[in-house]
Amino acid sequence: MTSGTTPQQTLTKTSAGREATPRQLRWRSRKAREAAAAYAFLTPWLLGMVLLTLGPMLYSLYLSFTRYDLLSDPKWVGFANFVQMFTTDSRYLKSVGVTLVYVLVSVPLLLVVSLLLALLLNKGMRFLTAYRVLFYVPSLIGASVAIAALWRMIFGADGIINQALAVFGIHHSSWVGSPHDALTTLIILAVWAFGSMMVIFLAGVRQVPRELYEAASIDGAGVFRKFFSVTLPMLTPLIFFNTLMATIGAFQAFTGAYVVSGGTGGPVDSTLFYTLYLYLQGFAELNMGYAAAMAWVLVIVLAAVSGFFFWTARFWVHYGDE
């Protein structure tokens, strides 16, 4: 049955020091072969891990302590990049501010909007499939150049947004040309693509057992109490998942800011997302060491944020078996 490979010497003794039985030997050799097979299956991923993820990460860490412009060799400068980022580089601090505002506004908005609509769609109504599909489409294309270009058009001085507002008697100047409003257009773009989050919430909401709602009704709970006492707690794992993924995604946003601002970071850096600034430093000005330093600061911040999320999860996430 099993094609016998001779077990190695080390496999012939059990932990008790006795000679292993043939059955134990066969089991160990099968384990060894399974391990070998597993690693064979994992080869592409392991290669990718080392060559494309871990290796580059280490190299990036090294680069963050250097000054490197690709044309000559990297020059070691110690912590100079980090010092520059936080003390003399006002554009860096600006990009951090812009990104933070973007994350802190768009993520909660996304959560609220997608949850509300998931609740609205919940009742197993007709056309549910069609509605779900239609709501999902924007999130499929939201990060594309085409939509970002459209956004730049419709939020222009004579774009349809301003035309619509004019119908209500509100006269607004250009959104994308104005430092106050350019970031708002990008936040709206992010929230516009709420469909994918909504679909996840929808699935979760539909999985809440009916009995819980019925029990709550019997206890005299109205709509709001049912939501806060039944639906919301049951959804906390999904809220956790969605918030985490949305936050991490928001920190990495690039295409929208690039296209809407024409690659500059918008009027007076008002749309200078962290990733955009990193790109400009690394590839437009060839300060690769500096860009690497920026990337590592982001990693550390995101790790801290994720860690924090996971830690607080203990307090507010209820996994259904409680």
Binding site: L42, I147, I154
Partner: protein, 295 residues
């Protein structure tokens, strides 16, 4: 005294309201949803409609319909100036197909190992996999660029395709792991009894059953590759190598008020494959996403 809970029809106090309420509630609900959808999708629909309007009429109206529908935006935009969208669409498709193939193969074999096999270091490696799902791409961007530059892969498609053959999308791997885990192990066991090695089990048993997950991976892989902007921006300098997003950006840069029609036409065409494929496979996709979220 025991008070029994009587599951009885509601008392007549609600009277007639009870019977009309559900209908009205449903109508209101549908109305709200349709309203929300209309607002949400209006920019998109407007753009598509605008692509059929002559350029100088585009910004004059909020409305969708025009007195002079025309296809000229499509014909002119396709080859405007030095732009060559035939080339760009071809390039995008080529990269997308090769990326999808790579993703399917590398992610499924990796997922099989994590889902079905036991091996030393599994916990650690799985944690590593999860970790990379949360890793921001910025940290590998610059070194990967330097590496590809050193290899002479700038101005080729290799930097955009090869990573997908090495399982760089942790999200897809994770998705498939979850799915494969849900397949009953008895199938594996009976196959093993028949003398199948792991590879046979993988190809003959697991993969055919994993088609739904495969479909999800294929679709998302297509969407992400098709929409990818930063990658081509970095690696594809020569204009004959450009993908559709780069072509659109170039169009945008050289465009004044008079050529928005062409831009919208090409944008519509660039979004059509994604939306099209999605609508065809939407059930598959939406179920797949929903189950991933519910770990």
């Amino acid at each position: 005294m025991t008070s029994t809970i009587r599951a009885r029809a509601p008392r007549p106090i609600f009277g007639r309201k009870q019977s009309t309420n559900p209908v009205i509630r449903a109508v209101v609900r549908h109305a709200l949803i349709v309203c929300a959808l209309a607002i949400l999708l209006y920019p998109l629909v407007w753009m598509v409609a605008a692509s059929f309007r002559p350029s100088n009429q585009i910004f004059t109206t909020l409305g969708l319909f025009s007195s002079h529908p025309t296809l000229s935006n499509y014909t002119e935009g396709w080859g405007a100036g030095r732009l060559n969208f035939s080339r760009y669409f071809f390039n995008s498709f080529l990269i997308a197909i090769l990326s999808i193939a790579g993703n399917l193969i590398s992610c499924s074999v990796t997922a099989y190992a994590f889902a079905r096999l036991n091996f030393p270091g599994k916990k650690f490696l799985f944690a590593l996999l999860l970790g990379t799902m949360f890793l921001p791409f910025q940290v590998t961007l610059v070194p990967q660029y330097i590496m590809f530059n050193y290899l002479g892969w700038i101005n080729t498609y290799l930097p955009l395709i090869v990573p997908h053959w090495l399982g760089v999308n942790a999200f897809f791997i994770f998705l498939m792991v979850q799915f494969i885990r849900s397949l009953p192990r008895e199938l594996d066991d009976s196959a093993r009894l028949d003398g199948c090695g792991h590879f046979r089990i993988f190809t003959r048993i697991i993969m055919p059953l994993a088609l739904p997950a495969v479909g999800v991976v294929a679709l998302f892989s297509f969407v992400w590759s098709w929409n990818d902007f930063l990658g081509p921006l970095l690696y594809l300098g020569r204009s004959d190598l450009w993908t559709v997003p780069l072509g659109l950006k170039a169009f945008l840069d050289s465009t004044g008020q008079n050529s928005y029609g062409g831009l919208f036409a090409m944008s519509t065409l660039s979004l059509a494959p994604i939306v099209g494929f999605f609508i065809l496979a939407q059930r598959l996709l939406l179920e797949g996403i929903a189950t991933t979220g519910l770990k």
